[in-house]
Each structure stands twice: as C-alpha cells, then as structure tokens.
Symmetry: C2
Subunit: 406 residues, 2 copies
Amino acid sequence: MTDFNLPGLVNAHSHAFQRAMAGLAEHQTDPADSFWTWREQMYRYAGLIEPDDLQAIAAQLYVEMLKSGYTAVCEFHYLHHQRDGRPYADAAAMSRALIAAANETGIDLCLLPVLYMQGGFDGRALSARQRRFGHEVDAFLRLVETLRRDESDALQIGIALHSLRAVPPEAMHAVLAAESERDRPIHIHIAEQQAEVDECLALRGTRPVAWLLDHAEVDARWTLVHATHLSAPEVQALANSEATVCLCPTTEANLGDGLFPMPEYVAAHGGFSIGSDSHISVSPVEELRLLEYGQRLRLQRRCIAVGAEEKSVGRFLFDQSLAGGHRSAGARIAANASRITLDVAHPLLAARSDSEMLDTWIFSGNVPLVRDVSVRGRDVVRDGHHIDEERIARRYIETVRRWSQR
Amino acid sequence: MTDFNLPGLVNAHSHAFQRAMAGLAEHQTDPADSFWTWREQMYRYAGLIEPDDLQAIAAQLYVEMLKSGYTAVCEFHYLHHQRDGRPYADAAAMSRALIAAANETGIDLCLLPVLYMQGGFDGRALSARQRRFGHEVDAFLRLVETLRRDESDALQIGIALHSLRAVPPEAMHAVLAAESERDRPIHIHIAEQQAEVDECLALRGTRPVAWLLDHAEVDARWTLVHATHLSAPEVQALANSEATVCLCPTTEANLGDGLFPMPEYVAAHGGFSIGSDSHISVSPVEELRLLEYGQRLRLQRRCIAVGAEEKSVGRFLFDQSLAGGHRSAGARIAANASRITLDVAHPLLAARSDSEMLDTWIFSGNVPLVRDVSVRGRDVVRDGHHIDEERIARRYIETVRRWSQR
C-alpha cells in the first residue's frame, strides 16, 4: 500500500499559554457560568506566566499540533508585559518566547501581536488582570516593527486587534493606516458572544461585523475570528469582503458561544479557516468534525458542508480550511511546502480508497492517524513521534508542576 | 507520582458491525441527507456481513473500546440471519460471533438480542434489506433462551425491542410477559428522530416515550436509547420511572438527531448511560465532552452538567454515566471488578491533582491517556496496548479489505 499524503493544515487561532490550563475550568463556579466567568479563571492563569514558561508551554503545544496534522500556527498574542503591566526589559520578550518555541519544534509561525487598550466598548480602563495585555498605539507599532526584523520563511509577523470592545475606533484607524501598504495578515476577535453583540448595538448602534465592515477596508488580508453571531446581511457582506472567518469549534462549544451560520456562509462562497484557540483539544479532525456536527444538530440533517461539485464532507472541509488557513497565515507561510502522511497501515485506514481517506480520517474518532510530518523539508514527526518530544515534555512538566505545588 | 485509577465505563449501546463503515457515509448523496438516507447506506453495509466477519470487526472494536476506557459493552444486536432472511443453521450464529469477540478481547458483554418485526408504525412488512433482522416472537424467545444457557460472569443476556415502530404492541406485551420474572436489562431505541415522534403521534395519538410509559411497566431494568425528543412531562415521567436513558452524543450529532434536554432531565434526577452506537468515534471522553458541549451550545452557558454537591463537570459526568452504565448492563456485569489506570506521567496529566484529573482527562482533547486496563482481574491493556491487538488488527484488516477489493 502506498502512502497517503496531504499538505499540513494551519491552526489559524492560538493562545498558546491556555494549553496549560486545559481541564482546569470545567467545574461550576456559578450556576450562570459563561464565557465571562471562564475569562476570570483564564486571567488568573495568565497572571502566572513568564517568558520561559510561555516557551515551555508553547513548545509542548506545538509538538502536539504537529503530531495532529497542523504544520503552521497563527498566535493571537496579547500576553506582552510583566505582571504589574510594565514592559519587560526587552519589550518583545514574550513574543520571542513564542518564536523560540516555533523554532525548536519546527512549526511555521504567523505571530500576531495584539493591540489591547480598553476594558469594554465604553472605553473603561483595563482591569488589573488585563494590564499585561495593554499598549498605546505607538508602542504597539514599535513592537511590530521590532519583530519584523526577524521575519523569515518560517516566521510571518501580522497584527491583531483584540476586538472592537478592546480597541477604540481612532486607534484602529491609526494602526490600519500604518499597515495599509503592507501585505500582512490582520486578525480580530469578533461577535463571539451575544453580550458583545448587544453591547455594540447599544453603544455603536450596529452589530459588530456590520460596524467593522463599515469602518475598515476589510479585504483578503483579514481574518475574523469566531464571527459566531451574524445577521443574514452580515453573512453576505462578510463573504463578499473576501475576508476569512476563523472557526474554533471545540472552543466555541466549550465556551458556550453558539453556532456560526455555516451553510448560509458557504452558500455565499465565504472562506474559512480553523483554530484550536483555547486548546481544550488539539486536533484538526476534531475541529472539522465538530464544525459539521454543530450544523447537523442545529438543522437535524446530515452531510451539510459540501461544495457544488465536491460531495465528500471530509474533502470539502479539508480543502476549504487549508485554503482559508493559508490566507489567515499569509503568503509567506502559504508558500512553504509541508506534508503530513497518514498511517495507512492502521486498521481504520487499511481498506480505504484514496477518495474515502479524508472522510475516514475526520469521521472515525480519536485515534492518532498521522504517521509522519515534514515542514519545509524537515522531518519533524516520524512514526507518530516528534523528533524532540521527550525533552520538550520534560521541560513542560517541570513548568506546570511548579504552579501546582504552590 | 502514584497511579490514578478509575473503574471502567460501560459502553451501553453498540452496533458492532457499523465500526467497519466509519467514514463511509460522510459524502452527500442528497441535499436532504438525513438519518434516513444514512440508514440505507448502513443497510447496504449490513448486507455484507457473515458471522466470521462480525467476530473480526467486533474484536477490533472491543480492543479499541478497552484501550479508550470502556470495560463492558451492551450489544444491541439485530443482525441475526443470512442475507436472504433465513436463519443460519445455528440460529444464534451471529450472537455467538459477538460472544466470541468479547471472550477473545476480555471485555464484559451484555448481549441484547433485538426483536425486529415490521418496517414502520403502520405495520408494513420488513424491506428486503431488513430481512436479516426479523423474528416472530416465539423464535425470538427461543434465541434468548438458547443464549442464556451460556451466561457467565462476563456475559449477560438481556433483551431489546428495536423500537416502537418495529415491534407491534401485542408482540411487545408477549415478550415483556415472558420476561416479567427476570431481572435482566431491557433496551429500546426511542424518539431518536423527529419523524419517529411525528409518526407515533399520527398513528398512536401520543409521543413515543409517553406511549411506552403508558403501555409497559418501565422500571429500573429499562434503558431507553436516545430519547432525544421529549416534552417536559415526558422528561419528568421518564426520570420518575427509574429507567436509564442511554445517550450517544457522537452518533446523535453525526446523524443529526438533535439534542436531549439534559439539564431538565438531570434536575429531575434522571439517570443516564453513554454509548458509542454507530462507532464513528470510540471514546468515552469524547461522548461525555460532547454531551456537555451540546448543552453549552444550546444554552450559551458553561459547566451545565453538575450535581447539587459535585461541581466538577468531569466528575459528575463520569460518576453518572458509570452508575447508569451499570444499570444498562445489568447486575451481573455491574458486580465485576474493572480498573482503568490513567497515564499520569503524560504531560497533560503530570501536574494535575486527583480532583482535577477527571476534568482534564475529559476536557483536554484526543490524546490517548489510558495506560492500563484490567477486567475481572485480567490485565487486557498494558502501557496503551491490548495484549492481543496485533493479531486482531490483522484479521480485521483482511476482513474489510475483501469488501474494498470487490
């Protein structure tokens, strides 16, 4: 039997440090637990992390990503400063920790330094726990320029606006003006929670996606992360913009965000990528499967995400999320060669034709079926093991044990 | 670090042969694809299978179950006869194939021979593809009695009614009368699809669960599989009956069934078990996680399935599905000792306290974290490998390759 190879997928939305808290926010703290009570737990965790910790966690996470079939990651990176909110001596120290983790594991990185300025649409100041995230526009642009000196085949530096609620309109315009001549990815969290939609309606008189499309030149450089809550006109306008929507199905389920109007958006020829976001799961097949399953549960039908010609759900989801991931990560990374090789000797795949392979990989469960992974010609996963996984796991365990033993 | 042990879970609903078609029904055959178009594909597959094939498939599946943390399985077994509908020379040949697969892998088996008599509520005859499933009541009861001669610590023989639509009321009463003095599990598929509810309302004037509760003495012996579509009075009456609801979240998502009213049922103190059913995934953690995630998406909240005192979602889901699984599988199997040992040296678990372990196991992804499994004192999984997995995988691969090469 010959090998079955695929290009590697892009994990288009990652907050690497959150991998270390996977499973720690699954106990009820309030009968009305929600995204917002989760966020307080996440902030507490974010408060623990120093640059060396971030590298240790991110490297472990990137090993897991590579083993699962992701060969590139977009880091939506807002954990910039010291615990008291002052910049590190090297203002890019946290960014460099992520770059170092990508380098040592071999994954391609689109690093998106995040602009985060205020605590809500009303312009309130950052809370004590948000101070590690904050920048004025000038300092933010300096960080971006500093990091761009190190761009390479394996490293793209885009930018991100945390969300409409965290970035005032004038700051958004200043950053976008500075970025206007650049062909770099621009990401933003948007319309993830109904409360955000309601607040935007109350304070800006329109819904978040509609507001963004009205106030920025949203084009193919843009990735809108989540975009869960959309009106029908927003679905159409967003698809027309040529922006990419990054869907994070496992996190959106874990956080109770709601369901994106997938079939409507696909019918409007909208493009999408996928991300594991909070990393309560690290698996492209679980993201893609849950993306389809959410729609099946919503509509009480089957085999929903297909194209006009492509009737295999697995093939359609793979091809679309691959193309969308390349847009989310930018041209530099999209140009790189990557290869994942499925384990066709595994009982689950052993009797599948090539045309059945993707459906089976995505819709047959949780057993690891990626055998080998290569990025830019470098074999980083062989026979299911990353080439440096033992050292990286040891360092990760030492890091997280320190917190648990306090 | 000391081991972290748990009792093994019961997979309370399995159609073993369907594991071999995982991934083969994920291409659109009709824009209105549904459970009903899926069922035609499944019937085509069922038509291929002979007793030796069934043993090969079930053994591979049971190996996967044991490795994922299930130590017992309830087989809802309706594939009884030869392709033309005539019984095999040994009318129990297919049942014996499942028993042999359980024996060789070491999993505890609650075998539920299924009574299947008609093609719908209107009493229409079985279709050509359903003929392998059919029995008259007398022949069905003879099969059950024959199989009960072989009951043992590891083998419980319950009974199942396929569904209200497949069993006429008088046949149901006859079988339940014969079973009335027995303390054995009784399973039934019910209210999985809205179309079934609609047909029951049209032809019997009431909803399926309400009809069953009115026409049978539903008690703690009963497992109602799916029960997806329930009215508020049905939720309360079902919880009061002390029956167990078997939820199959991955299959119910894959088939677009809809979402069970979990928080309402838990508030009414209803008990539940879990099953992997069509086996498009074989993992208790994915079942439990998706059970909770479906509710989070429906209600746009977090941490929903908890008890009055137990606030860990993972602990609550584990304990409840363990207790419910023991009821679904019956007292004989519930009395057996089983143990699964998590791999506490794995980076994901290495820094978790005992109280965090279940949340982390269930809510951190897809990496196999079960290290060792023991059933009735026999070590069947060691260091992540089943003791006979290579032989069983080879036989499985030969079996499914035969079909793919035609």
